[in-house]
Subunit: 132 residues, 2 copies
């Protein structure tokens, strides 16, 4: 079964090289701008109330995967589903980004850990394990 999606937007930020990309959003001080394509802009209504948003994206520069990888390329060996590596069977990324402000179809975000031009698949309000 093949499941196909189309990006709803794109990330704009200074990160151009995978090797220089922070390994985890909570440790990133990089800021960026998510451009949501015009036809989806109305779907942002109310999102400005969120302090953090969940961003689901496509690792478009990741090629192939291994089921067992080293944590961050150098640590212990682990299964891919126990890692956040971009080299996954389905190269889907997930980050929790700080939402600093919204201007029209642009979301200004902090804690960016994805490359410039990354296709964005979905946005959701952030919810951890404890609250709705």
């Amino acid at each position: 079964m093949q499941i196909c999606y189309e990006p709803i937007g794109v990330m704009h930020c200074e990160l151009k090289e995978p090797a220089k990309t922070p390994s985890f959003y909570s440790r990133s001080e990089i800021k960026g701008e998510i451009e949501v394509y015009g036809q989806f802009q109305e779907g942002l209504t109310g999102i400005e109330a969120c302090e953090y948003i969940t961003v689901i994206f496509h690792f478009d520069r990741s090629e192939g995967f291994e089921l067992i990888q080293r944590r961050r390329g150098v640590g212990e060996l682990s299964g891919v589903f126990n890692l956040r590596t971009p080299r996954r069977p389905n190269p889907i990324g997930l980050s929790i980004l700080k939402l600093e402000r919204v201007e029209g179809n642009r979301l200004f975000v902090g804690n960016v850990d994805m490359l410039d031009a990354t296709p964005i698949l979905d946005l959701k309000p952030y919810a951890g394990i404890e609250r709705d």
Copy 2:
């Protein structure tokens, strides 16, 4: 740009009807079993150490979307990206499930809020906004 994935597994649980599905994982007491397809089983190595896992799935029984919807069908109007509704431009779901145990290619999970037979796209260790 079309981005296509193949499921890496499938949810087995008692939830058969969308209307009876808990609206949020943290409020669900339903248990279920994620079957990871055999060719990906090795990718589960080490996952048993996780108390919670992030499950990314496809809302396969969702049809169409509106950019503005009512929260849980009855609440205030809000943009789709400010809601967890299944009726999304890309019907991607995200739940944080309690990992109770692992047996081979089967993950026994709690807090289930997705329908039986839901295609699973990816699994990641749970990480909120504070820790790695």
